[in-house]
């Protein structure tokens, strides 16, 4: 089913999403990938505040290529989410509502998604030029020294994603294999 939703998202709408739904997101996403997650993890250990508001928000696992003059961002597709599996359950427990990435998640992450009523979306990997067209602004808000790995606040408009793990824990990657595998 095709849905057009705002991010941050109404609780009811988030809970109604099902694995396989095609969703166009409009609103705010925060980018963070490996190095930013490591720093946030260390900040939490040191009892410091995180540089971005987690409560109700969505993280996009992405490190863009540099923007050309007059453009908000360069190529901007998802990176492999499993590298953030170590950090994701804690962030979900602290109020993060969803993640956009690509690829499988660990069982710990799936459990944290169910426990907190969250969602994991995939954007199409390797479609960074196309996806950049749905990003209307980008601003570095923390860890600027990390370059492409800095935390950015993005404004997105009709940004296309697919629900991979819904709040009930259904996983589209598993469902797809069941449906399409023709292995003997």
């Amino acid at each position: 089913m095709d849905r057009h939703l705002k991010v941050p998202m109404e609780e009811q709408e988030l809970l109604s999403l099902r694995a396989g739904d095609y969703v166009y997101l409009t609103g705010t996403l925060y980018t963070a990938r490996d190095a930013a997650h490591k720093r946030m993890y260390e900040a939490l250990r040191a009892g410091e505040k995180l540089p971005m508001p987690l409560e109700g928000n969505f993280i996009y696992y992405m490190g863009p290529s540099p923007a050309r003059e007059g453009r908000p961002i360069g190529s901007a597709g998802p990176t492999t989410a499993s590298r953030m599996d170590k950090y994701a359950p804690e962030l979900l427990d602290l109020g993060l509502k969803g993640m956009v990435g690509k690829g499988r998640r660990s069982e710990e992450v799936r459990q944290a998604i169910i426990r907190n009523g969250c969602v994991y979306f995939a954007a199409v990997g390797g479609a960074g030029a196309l996806l950049s067209k749905s990003i209307t602004s980008s601003r570095v808000i923390a860890y600027e020294d990390l370059g492409t790995e800095a935390i950015r606040e993005l404004t997105v408009e009709e940004f296309p994603v697919i629900v991979v793990i819904d709040s009930k824990g259904n996983n589209l990657y598993d469902i797809a294999l069941e449906q399409y595998s023709k292995e003997e």
Binding site: G74, K102, A127
Partner: protein, 283 residues
């Protein structure tokens, strides 16, 4: 005695810079054709939609000059140097690294290289590249640049099989690597395989196999048949475009082989995503 040909390092740097930019914005014709064929044959509606987006993505990348993928890779460079070539103007490797530096900086490409695998400080210009030199007959220098993304690189594997494992063992190893890669490697993938040689030779063959056009099968009929069989089996796995299910999981399996030791059967599987990029130039 054959004549020497002189190649200036400045020409090398210039070619390398241009190729880094070209490879990150335009796929080769064989890759484009394979993706568009897949769009027609894909059976899953969502899979078809993903392949359509990849087509659109290529058009936008070319027209608006935005890299096809934000992971513009670590630059892997194969340099075949004719033994009649004389290099002038400085150290060849410096010129190649300079070309990479310029290409990634001037071309708005992402800087994805860290100076040390553990301290992980970004070098800021995507150098150093990984360079493989080969001395060949003739008076030309052939440079191939293949920027490699790590979503798929991370899913690559090496298997040191036993001779008794035979062809079945080899096929199982390849299928295992592809299944484990699944949605993480941005399918549809291109699967580069190196069989034989030593530990490092197999890996190098697998990497080189990715630069062979996807529509060109192995010259050896035995391995050509194996490539075909594996491609069909991979596409029955159900992984599909983006891992969201379907009949297009790989576009090609390219196998390269080399003689090996009586005690061994190394198999390297270098997984590449649909952004299987390369640019080639002969100086």
């Amino acid at each position: 005695m054959p004549e020497m040909k002189t190649i200036q390092t400045s020409a090398v740097a210039e070619a390398v810079a241009a190729m880094c930019i070209e490879a990150n914005h335009f796929l080769t014709d064989d890759m484009k054709a394979a993706l568009s064929r897949a769009g027609e044959s894909e059976i899953a509606p969502l899979g078809k939609q993903v392949l359509g987006q990849l087509q659109q993505n290529l058009e936008i990348a070319g027209e608006d000059h935005i890299p096809i993928c934000q992971d513009t890779g670590m630059a892997v460079i194969f340099v075949e140097i004719g033994q009649e070539v004389h290099i002038e103007g400085g150290f060849l490797e410096d010129a190649i690294q300079e070309g990479v530096r310029r290409g990634y900086t001037e071309g708005y490409l992402r800087k994805s290289v860290v100076r040390d695998p553990l301290d992980r400080v970004n070098t800021g210009d995507n150098t150093p590249a990984v360079i493989h030199y080969q001395i060949v007959p003739g008076d030309e220098m052939k440079i191939t640049i293949a920027p490699k993304g790590f979503g798929s690189e991370n899913m690559s594997r090496i298997f040191m099989l036993k001779p008794a494992d035979g062809a079945e063992g080899v096929k199982n190893a390849i299928l295992t690597a592809v299944r484990d890669a699944g949605p993480n490697a941005c399918p549809p993938m291109v699967v580069g395989v190196g069989i034989g040689g030593t530990f490092e030779k197999a890996a190098l063959l697998a990497k080189k196999a990715l630069t062979r056009p996807v529509d060109r099968r192995s010259a050896d009929p035995y391995y050509s048949a194996m490539e075909q069989e594996l491609l069909e089996r991979i596409n029955r796995s159900g992984i599909g475009p983006g891992g969201l299910g379907g009949s297009t999981t790989a576009l090609a399996v390219n196998i390269e082989t080399y003689p090996t030791h009586i005690a061994g059967l190394p198999v390297a599987v270098n997984i590449c995503c649909h952004v299987n990029r390369h640019a080639v130039r002969v100086l």
